[in-house]
Amino acid sequence: MLLTAAEPWPENATLYQPLTEDQILLSDCASSLAVQAYLRMCGLPVQVVSRANAEYMSPSGKIPFIHVGNQVVSELGPIVQFTKAKGHSLSDGLDDVQRAEMKAYMELVNNMLLTAELYIQWCDDATAAEISRPRYSSPYSWPLSNILAYQKQWEVRRKMNAIGWGGKTLEQVYEDVSQCCQALSQRLGTQPYFFNKQPTELDALVFGHLFTILTTRLTNSELAERIKSYSNLLSFCKRIEQTYFEDKSS
């Protein structure tokens, strides 16, 4: 990474994610949107390309990943470090204590929101059967589609059990999401961004997750309703959408 620090950001940088219409799931869409928001906030152009096998192309198996020059980097954390090595950073103006806070809140989003999204997608039987398994396996024909879908479900359920979420009910997960949103709402307060006037990677991450939850249709709209009860989070999402994404809004 350090060797390419001197190279400028190329015009043909690409971001890969699963097929948008048929395949991509809530958690992957949220992570991908977070990275896109971050890159737009840095002013770095990137083309979004959808591929059915994006997950397998990724070096870490996680979505999204970016292809820049001859480097391939996946997930928001490493991508932030990569852009920093190229001289683009949103959090340079923060002092040590603020940076500690920012990282802590990013972990809160990963720990609570992302895990809740994965839980709802794969551990809730109704959602898994109606939405997740069909969508995840849509590019493949039977029997590969069944095998891949169930394998993914089994992997995610193992992970949920390992971190202690296996025994939770859906209601408890919704409650956890509410608490997380309450914490984010209290931290945001009336400011435009989490660290006042300038957006940071935390704003990109929160936007990615909240906007995706608000705009994705699930088996029920409980999750979106929980977020809608925090008006400052809603206006935060709207503000970022209008500032950074208005050229692609329909």
Partner: protein, 284 residues
Amino acid sequence: MAAAMELRCWGGDWGLPSVHTESLIVLVPLSHVCKNTAIASTAVPELLCGETAVQEPTHILNFLRKQRFNADYELTARQGADTMAYIALLEEKLRPALLHTFWVDAENYTNLTRPWFASRSPFPLNFLVPSHHANTALSRILLTKGEAPLHRISEVEGKIYSDAKECLNLLSYRLGTADYFFGNSPTSLDAFVFGFVAPLHKARLPSGPLQSHLRLLDNLTRFCDTVLSVYFSPSPPVQETVDANLQKLTQLVNKESNLIEKVLLPSFPLLCMSLLYLAGSVSY
């Protein structure tokens, strides 16, 4: 309100009241109310109050909050949100490396952790308990941090240790020169940080790169020592404690409830211990 509470947790060593992170987290608000019980299940720590049994540190702290023993009473909403965020940071960044240090690192496991837990477990559990914990720790690290093509622990070790060192640095920046994370009295965040950091600080680890890193962060080690000396120092004679607490309670009966809470919280553990001594149900 002052119903006798019994906390079942792993016992102490190395100058700590307990060597188990989750047990330490709940011991800070409940110091001295501890009965050493080695159980093979993962349901430790467990708080028994009357007929209710509560497990897991977050649930136990919520339970205490409902019983009006709330260390976070004076926090602002924003500080409450910060607490949640820092606890998430500890869970994501520090826990995997701690699990690795104590349960997966071969030298530490064979020389320190396994003998300790085996010696505290009754036969035949002493053969099963340590290896069960070690397997759980390894699978948790691999499932959360190991990426799909790299299912070997050696490839994630570097990443989890660098994450943990960064986490310790961030905690150190946040603590600064203060005694506690929020103001002058400890809150649940202090309990969590203490629970995670104290075993690392005090254990006599044969192989401890993370421990050496922690030793460089003076304010964190000082924080652990402060909590230890305030909450876990040897207790004063029982009779004096009972009289002192009864006096305090009668004086405060006519004052407002929040003042009662502020006094009851620090004296509750001593009161509870004295009640249990009198009832003859505590043995060390």
